[in-house]
């Protein structure tokens, strides 16, 4: 008899692996990133950027916007036909916002996929594990207690991502410990319940902090609702190093995440140090989540929607899921942001509301199809 591994709730019941193909000698090729999927991811990012820059309260011709984006490259001079004011809208207002959306989406999706691999749990997501709440508490603590006044959210102090990271790592450690308290009877759902409890506790602490510092309530709320609207290049530069470290560590471990799907003991028998890999990946994923949360506020479900869709379409190997999550996660959030700022125009709705509307039904779908959530 064999156990079915946690890992993949949404894989179709087709007899042939989703990412299977053969080489010129008709040999089956091992799982990995296929060039067509890579191309698809790059196209999705390019389209998201152009569309994200072209549409908004002022609609601009996508072709002209594309030309203006190319003009940003050294040595390129194309007449885009846009006025100076329209060029400013593209390069100064919308571009940092779109780039930040790409970075945040990429990190949330990569972190979600990493958490799912580390915990061997399809429901693992930065928000459901309490990581985002921990990061949120860290940001709130810095924003609420800092002594300077002014526009706190448009120019976040450099220490904010670090505070968010400390909060995120504390939260994931608490969730893990609480989830493990069930001993042998614990299930993937136990971990999520632990995450819900940790989230509730940390949110309560956050509320307490906000109540104690009412003078900074506006800044904190503005951040909580998602602040891509006020994104500037400062935010992009603030988050970029964290994104680079997170993505480098997680992507470098994509084969090890595949090995971890057979469980710790079998992975050990294959020569791996599962705990060592797990700690490193948890820290990296939490760092990425913290950086994303510190500049964008609380945006949920990206870490579930993107990796699961890719798992369904491009195969179950983390060697394809992780790099594709990077590309499609970024494109997904850039499109979602576009929806958030145009669907109820001229007013904007918080981006977290849009991802929740998409993510909640998706979560139910994953839960229904998951063969290993019930005890």
């Amino acid at each position: 008899m064999t156990r079915t591994a946690p890992g993949d709730a949404a894989v179709p019941a087709a007899p042939v692996a989703g990412n299977t193909d053969v080489d010129q000698n008709h040999r089956v090729r091992p799982a990995g990133l296929r060039p067509l999927w890579l191309l698809g991811g790059v196209v999705a990012v390019v389209v998201a950027v152009i569309v994200g820059l072209a549409f908004g309260p002022v609609t601009l011709p996508p072709g002209s916007v594309a030309a203006e984006v190319l003009n940003l490259l050294p040595g390129v001079h194309i007449h885009s036909g846009l006025t100076d004011r329209e060029v400013a809208i593209v390069t100064e207002l919308r571009l940092p916002r779109v780039v930040l959306g790409l970075l945040v989406g990429a990190m949330l999706a990569v972190a979600g996929a990493a958490y799912q691999g580390v915990f061997r749990n399809p429901l693992a997501d930065p928000h459901l594990l309490g990581v985002a709440a921990g990061a949120g508490l860290g940001v709130t603590a810095v924003v609420a207690t800092r002594t300077t006044t002014g526009d706190a959210t448009s120019n976040l102090p450099i220490g904010v991502p670090l505070a968010a990271f400390v909060g995120a790592v504390t939260a994931v450690a608490l969730t893990w410990l609480l989830g493990a308290a069930g001993g042998r009877s614990r299930t993937p759902a136990t971990l999520i319940l632990a995450g819900v409890a940790v989230s509730a506790f940390l949110s309560a602490v956050q509320t307490y902090l906000m109540q104690r510092h009412v003078d900074s309530l506006r800044e904190v709320y503005s951040w909580l609702l998602g602040r891509l609207a006020t994104a500037g290049w400062h935010d992009v530069l603030l988050v970029l190093p964290y994104a680079a470290v997170t993505c480098a560590i997680v992507l470098a471990h994509r084969r090890e995440l595949d090995v971890l799907t057979v469980g710790d003991e079998e992975a050990t028998s294959l020569g791996l140090h599962p705990q060592r890999s797990r700690y490193l990946l948890l820290v990296a994923a939490s760092l990425g989540t913290a950086a994303a949360v510190s500049v964008s506020g609380l945006i949920g479900f990206v870490g579930i929607i993107v990796p699961h869709t890719l798992r369904l379409l491009a195969g179950a190997s983390y060697r394809s899921i992780l790099p594709l999550s990077l590309l499609f996660g970024g494109a997904f959030l850039a499109f979602t942001d576009l929806t958030a700022r145009t669907i109820a125009g001229p007013a904007e709705i918080p981006i977290g509301v849009v991802t929740a509307f998409l993510g909640a039904p998706f979560f139910v779908l994953v839960l229904r199809n998951s063969r290993w959530v019930s005890p």
């Binding site: 064999t2 040999r27 294959l270």
Partner: protein, 262 residues
């Protein structure tokens, strides 16, 4: 013959309980030894400890090197373990599953080389699994899966094979098929095989020697004819059996207590 496996005073504690208690066990190079014993006797635990997967007291040497001193990757090149209930990762194709066996040969954060792929191709061919390479593991039957589990272990290139209840989920035909396969591979590749098994007759047909564990201790060790006796099995399994001489070894036939004439 040199000892491939040598365990001395092997003791394993799980949750504060002594599960394996001072076990001495030797397996010669190229030998097939099967550990038998009632449920809870410590068979699987002993096997996992010998494979370096559990902390233990005492000493376990694989080809003369203490297992707990071997770096993990080096250890995985020496000993391959097939668990009693291997995890089947959903959606993983057979080729990728067997490639996991090459993990000890791939540098950390690296990827498979052409040589790793060639090794796996050879193993799939040897186990007649080429047609399954692109199939999803979770769609295969029990017998097919067991061959894939063996293929992953063989891809490790280890000369010691630890098999925990390799036939427990298989029908009698597939049991025989898998054990014949292990025996053929043992002969062709010079493997040393240590298994645990519940089916005593089948175990006796394939093993060179048997070790009977009871209460975590070695109750008997020797050839199948020396271990599979009515007296020993009655004492440790609390069952009445008849031993019948078979072609390859003694056959153990359980007998209902109330039907047995006094």
């Amino acid at each position: 013959m040199t000892a491939a496996i040598a365990a001395r005073a092997l003791t394993v504690r799980l949750g504060g309980n002594v599960v394996v208690d001072g076990v001495d066990l030797d397996v010669a190079d190229g030998e097939w030894v099967t550990v038998i014993g009632p449920n809870g006797a410590g068979k699987s635990t002993a096997l996992r400890a010998i494979g370096g997967l559990l902390p233990f007291d005492g000493r376990v040497e694989l080809h003369g090197t203490a297992v707990d001193r071997l770096p993990r990757r080096r250890r995985a090149m020496i000993v391959a373990t097939v668990a009693q209930t291997p995890v089947v990762p959903p959606g993983m194709q057979v080729l990728d599953y067997v490639l996991l066996g090459r993990t000890p040969y791939i540098r950390p954060l690296g990827r498979e080389s052409e040589s790793d792929l060639a090794t796996v191709d050879d193993v799939l061919g040897e186990l007649d699994l080429e047609a399954f390479a692109g199939r999803r593991l979770d769609t295969l039957s029990g017998g097919e899966r067991q061959r894939v589990f063996l293929a992953r272990a063989l891809a490790q290139g280890a000369r010691i094979l630890l098999l925990d209840e390799p036939t427990s989920a298989l029908d009698i035909g597939h049991q025989q098929e898998v054990l014949e396969l292990v025996d053929r591979l043992r002969a062709e590749r010079g493997l040393t095989v240590l298994t645990t098994m519940h089916d005593l007759s089948t175990a006796g047909e394939y093993a060179d020697r048997m070790v009977l564990l009871s209460g975590g201790r070695v109750a008997a060790a020797g050839t199948p004819r020396e271990v599979l006796t009515e007296r020993l099995l009655a004492a440790h399994y609390r069952v009445r059996v008849r031993i019948i001489e078979g072609g390859q070894g003694p056959l153990v036939v359980p007998v209902r207590t109330e039907n047995v004439p006094p």
